[in-house]
């Protein structure tokens, strides 16, 4: 079956809503508008306003209400339009969702799924284009996932909903229109393992979400133009990180490049670099390299936005530099 990332997400929602009466979707414009990225289009008509709930513009409260509803026995899916707006709900996510289980000595857990769009690439500028999923990955008590493929768009939601703890799901803005084949029987997938998306021997490229496609394209170019065999890892889960898969690959290739749309300083790629160094220092032939966003609020103009975030070219360059090849 040919489908899109958006449609795969929608299919996942439909299935979840059909299967479990405790599941409902809530957020700004998920209903009548059809979802700001059209993920939930048609769901209001199918499931009615009780289960597809348009909320007022009140990020902190509808996320907090999702937390309360989860405590009350439901399985809320809360859509926050973009991660940029989720800063308004951060108190609820960090001080309540992530801490309640621990603070209550294990009495209460919060089975909520919070979905949001993230990332740049559509010229939406500095209040709509940032990538804070790496930030969220710093918080104990949260589980962070980033579907980068149609299979994961289709399959991660079900597993996230089964999880007894809060799961944040980040959908890169540029992926919604991604098209491709998906097996008819595609269903739930795990949400904790990293996956090798391309096998290679010379260097490991580690990434996730919106940058996976760029990393794979770069690997293709490196193979064709430089005879460099890059292994590409899709992290899928940003918290917990699947460190063994990363270390195993880097122990083999002895070189690693981390690609991440967060700003370089304090990015998730820093954590991955640190773990690689801690884990396989003596196997490394070169320091871990990073391809991240420039340290600038994402600008509007296309050429500046392109220059600000990782691109196929900058990944290729980074790998070449790491392999001691000329740029």
């Amino acid at each position: 079956m040919q489908t899109t990332y958006r449609d795969a997400l929608r299919a996942a929602h439909r299935e979840a809503l059909q299967r479990d009466p405790r599941v409902f979707l809530m957020g700004e414009d998920v209903g009548r508008y059809g979802g700001s990225y059209a993920v939930s289009k048609g769901l209001l008509e199918e499931f009615g306003p009780d289960r597809i709930r348009d909320t007022p513009l009140s990020e902190s409260t509808f996320v907090g209400a999702g937390i309360g509803a989860a405590l009350g026995g439901l399985r809320p899916i809360v859509e926050v339009m973009t991660v940029n707006f989720s800063l308004l709900a951060l108190d609820q996510i960090v001080n309540n969702a992530a801490t309640l289980r621990h603070m209550s000595g294990g009495q209460f857990n919060v089975p909520i799924v919070i979905r949001m769009a993230t990332g740049a690439g559509r010229q939406l500028a500095a209040q709509h284009a940032h990538s804070f999923e790496g930030w969220y990955a710093h918080i104990p008590g949260l589980r962070i996932v980033a579907p980068a493929t149609l299979e994961d768009a289709r399959g991660m939601l079900a597993t996230a909903l089964e999880d007894p703890d809060p799961v944040l799901m980040f959908e890169h803005q540029t992926l919604y229109n991604m098209e491709g084949p998906l097996p008819d029987e595609a269903g739930a997938v795990d949400i904790d393992r990293a996956v090798v998306r391309r096998i290679g021997t010379d260097v490991t490229v580690i990434t996730y979400g919106g940058s996976l496609g760029k990393a794979l394209d770069a690997a293709g170019r490196l193979a064709a133009e430089d005879r460099i065999a890059a292994e590409v890892i899709d992290l899928r889960s940003l918290r917990p990180l699947d460190t063994p898969v990363i270390l195993q690959s880097v122990a083999k290739t002895r070189r690693a490049v981390v690609v991440d749309e967060g700003w370089r300083s304090g990015s998730l790629s820093a954590e991955i670099s640190a773990r690689i160094t801690e884990g396989v220092f003596y196997e490394l032939d070169a320091p871990v390299a990073r391809v991240c966003s420039a340290e600038v609020p994402i600008p509007y103009a296309k050429h500046l936005e392109d220059a600000a975030i990782p691109q196929v070219g900058s990944i290729v360059d980074a790998v070449r530099a790491l392999m001691g090849r000329q740029a």
Binding site: P56, S58, T61, G68, L71, G72, L74, Q107, D163
Partner: protein
């Protein structure tokens, strides 16, 4: 005292039986004596961190909680010992929690500001001012969507009313007609900031109009009045007519926390409010009606003190959670 609370007329004339009134007194005494002991234990270094006493405000929790059934839920603040005790969280588990012991209701993870109890649907113990309101709205949403005729009682202070979450949560609850009873404990201060310096509109009941939410105010120093008003409001909520807002006008007799030098208010103001202490007031009323003797009071106090002494002993004898268990209960699995 400039801000003498308005007492809705007639409320205190409700016919209630002696046993019930004595029980209200008993509950207020439990809170009062429990917290006096806490203050002592804090000075002795047995309790640490932040400790916020409810002394002076007991009539609010005791009165309001009468309106709830065991199925109802409670969301409270960091000033929640009283609510937890009245709700049925055992004093010993509460005290052990404040000692940081493994036998505490939260295994020593939460402390005074984060009491939780699944058995009595006590959802904390939230120390972010205003942070509990959205959670209460969600608990009520779950009840509504699952067809359970329950009420979620959400306690918060006058200070919380200025926070954006108050506005958002009041609006959402009213918009969706959710069964939340918003209970504002207006003790006139948020730490050292008097309500006039925090609110452009100090009549908090009027704020409910912004959300088309029925609202009322009650003398929070009169436990019977609080009970009556809370029962009215809770019944309306339970019947599905949407949320209610109830402002309970009260006063904190002690410092905000154990670190507060109280530079911001006059002793005379405190003294004036102490003359309206809800405990002696109820005692006087029952005594005048011939329903209570000095002996009765002494018996109640003795029972309360015995309960507290046992709680302290339980806490003292409690064990320390092994350090190896540090990261348990961060994730469920």
């Amino acid at each position: 005292m400039k801000t003498e609370p308005a007492v809705p007329a007639g409320v205190s004339a409700l016919p209630v039986d002696r046993a019930h009134l004595v029980e209200l007194l008993h509950q207020m005494l439990r809170i009062r004596h429990f917290e006096e002991k806490c203050a002592e234990l804090y000075s002795a270094g047995r309790i640490r961190g932040f400790l916020h006493l409810y002394i002076g405000e007991e009539a609010v929790a005791v009165g309001a909680l009468q309106a709830l059934t065991p199925d109802d839920a409670i969301v409270a603040t960091y000033r929640e010992h009283g609510h937890a005790l009245v709700r049925g969280l055992a004093a010993e588990r509460l005290m052990a929690e404040m000692f940081g012991k493994a036998e505490g209701c939260c295994r020593g993870r939460g402390g005074s500001m984060h009491l939780f109890d699944a058995a009595t649907r006590f959802y904390g113990g939230n120390a972010i001012v205003g942070g509990g309101l959205p959670v209460a709205v969600g608990l009520a949403l779950a009840d509504r969507m699952q067809g359970r005729p329950r009420v979620t009682a959400c306690f918060f202070g006058d200070g919380a009313v200025a926070e954006g979450e108050f506005h958002e949560a009041m609006n959402l609850a009213s918009l969706w007609k959710l069964p939340v009873l918003f209970l504002c404990e207006n003790n006139l201060y948020a730490m050292g900031t008097r309500i006039e310096r925090a609110q452009a509109q100090v009549d908090l009941v009027r704020k409910a109009e912004s959300y088309a939410m029925p609202a009322d105010a009650v003398d929070g120093m009169d436990v019977m009045a609080v009970e009556a008003a809370a029962r009215r409001a809770a019944e309306a909520v339970r019947q599905g007519s949407g949320p209610r807002f109830l402002e309970c006008r009260t006063y904190r007799f002690r410092a905000h926390s154990m670190f507060d030098a109280e530079l911001y208010r006059d002793k005379s103001e405190v003294e004036a409010w102490k003359s309206r202490d809800p405990i002696p007031a109820l005692i006087a009323r029952l005594t005048a009606a011939g329903q209570l003797t000095d002996r009765d009071v002494a018996d109640l106090e003795a029972a309360v003190d015995a309960e507290i002494a046992a709680a302290v002993q339980f806490a003292e004898r409690g064990t320390w959670e092994p350090v190896e268990a540090l990261t348990r209960d961060v994730y469920s699995r």
